[in-house]
Symmetry: C2
Subunit: 301 residues, 2 copies
């Protein structure tokens, strides 16, 4: 039996502006990006909430990939909407507007059919809800979480608490610096590792990702792309490739974690090549494996 991957996170509509192009009401949300990456490796179960305005065709895009949507709640109101803008370097997103809609009041409960999920991703959401989720999963092999500056500023203690209870913390570089009060990313990774997780992964956008465990530091560059069109969802697609590879491998040793970071990096590269989830939706596992090989060659003398 293959391991199952459970993701709890947002399903959203994004308005995205870059200096080169703009898109309106495109499928977004952490759970979308994550699922479309993770489903390349293992069966995915999705927990999320959508409003009246969510297009059936968008759920169908996920279902068509074999993603189990039994955990998607339908609530009265608007779906999560995000309006973001990137400047010419396509690095950090400026949030112009966030409308949480039905996501704002959502208190998820893991459906009975999902409690035996072996690999779990708690996407960026209120840390207290992340904690609640991890208590509801029966005997997970690995739980990973992501977070954002908003919770670092407002829910620091709750976030530190939930970080101490998971196996893998993924966080972007600016957030790691903010959370730890140091510019030095290695020190920041060690500080988060000291809270308890087995592995800390610092996502550095175009500069790749850094993995720290008790015995290992591993760094991969980003997959070099000629065009980045929309960085939205890169971190969630990264987590999808990461947990996907771990679930497929069924192991959590340092070597497997390093390789999982390569897979996460490559899934992120597919995500950012196109607007919305289009890039990661079109990727197949052979194309992913090919880029993983190229990524390894990139750093090999």
């Amino acid at each position: 039996m293959p391991s199952h991957i459970l993701v709890v996170g947002s399903l959203a509509y994004d308005d995205v502006d870059t200096p080169y192009d703009s898109r309106r009401e495109v499928l977004g949300g952490a759970a979308s990006y994550f699922s479309l990456a993770a489903c390349l490796y293992a069966p995915v179960r999705l927990m999320g909430v959508v409003g009246d305005d969510f297009r059936a065709s968008d759920l169908e895009r996920l279902r068509a990939k074999g993603i189990d949507l039994a955990g998607v709640e339908h609530a009265k109101g608007r779906s999560f909407r995000w309006l973001g803008r990137y400047n010419h370097d396509l690095a950090t997103a400026e949030t112009i507007n966030t409308d949480l809609g039905v996501f704002g009041d959502w208190v998820p409960t893991v459906p009975p059919a999902f409690v035996d999920s072996e690999f779990v991703f708690l996407a960026n959401i209120l840390p207290e809800i992340q904690r609640r989720m991890l208590e509801q999963v029966r005997s997970p092999r690995a739980i990973a979480l992501d977070t954002m500056n908003y919770w670092i500023e407002r829910r620091r203690d709750a976030l530190a608490d939930v970080m101490s209870r998971v196996d893998i913390v993924t966080v972007n570089e600016a957030e790691a610096r903010q959370f730890c009060g140091t510019h030095n990313v290695l020190k920041a990774a060690r500080q988060i590792h000291a809270l308890g997780p087995r592995a800390v992964i610092i996502k550095r956008a175009e500069y790749g990702a850094l993995l720290l465990t008790a015995d290992r530091i591993f760094w991969t560059p980003a997959y070099p792309l000629d065009e980045v069109r929309d960085p939205t969802g890169a971190g969630d697609a990264f987590a999808g490739g990461l947990l996907g590879h771990l679930a497929r491998a069924g192991k959590l040793d340092d070597g497997t974690l390093c390789r999982a970071v390569l897979h996460g990096t490559v899934c992120a590269s597919f995500a950012v090549e196109q607007f919305s989830v289009d890039g990661i939706e079109r990727a197949d596992i052979r194309a992913v494996e090919r880029r993983v090989g190229e990524l390894e060659a990139l750093v090999t003398v």
Copy 2:
């Protein structure tokens, strides 16, 4: 006979401010940093100019490492002085003041004893002078150049011309973006490569370095350091390790270039660990080789 390395560049006194410490009138300049790195690998010949105020003890520090100072001119006036400040991230230097002194009017001529140098580094200096230098060297195996934003803005055509005549262009990331008018570093590297050099190396500070040749893209992360004290001279120490390894290997194939980039990266790590040239001055080749091994392990699954 081992290959000889020739460097043309500044010998300076720096005043350096970081948020953690400050130093006044410390030995600096591209040629100092470069020489102290390159001399770990092969005999180094230095061309530079100093004023009346240059301390004999500082020349002695270089001479003690076997660096041939027959190309150091002594001129009437003040030595090159630079006052720079780094903010908390220790990334980009803000130049508070530059006093070129005797370096400003210097028109160097390669001494007859130096014209047979096989490996040449044209440090950041007026592109027209870089061109003059490369015409004076008889039959070099490899010439590398560095530059800066000042020349990109003021001497763009002359810079493009000299880039087209050398074997290796080293440039930092921001300068590559500026010179090429694109944020995408891979595109920028290709654009510079199209001018003619065999290899382009983009230096990315704490994010490492990218090498591009006709057949190869190679990326190394920076050597992870717990403390960066003074980033001054990192790029010149990098070039020293790079040309040092090439001169020692006596080859210029892609594999040797990749390994040379690792050596450059490690020499830069020693340079930034201490103020002024203290870090690279104290490094020995065994410590460099050890870090090169660690750097390779860092990216190996």
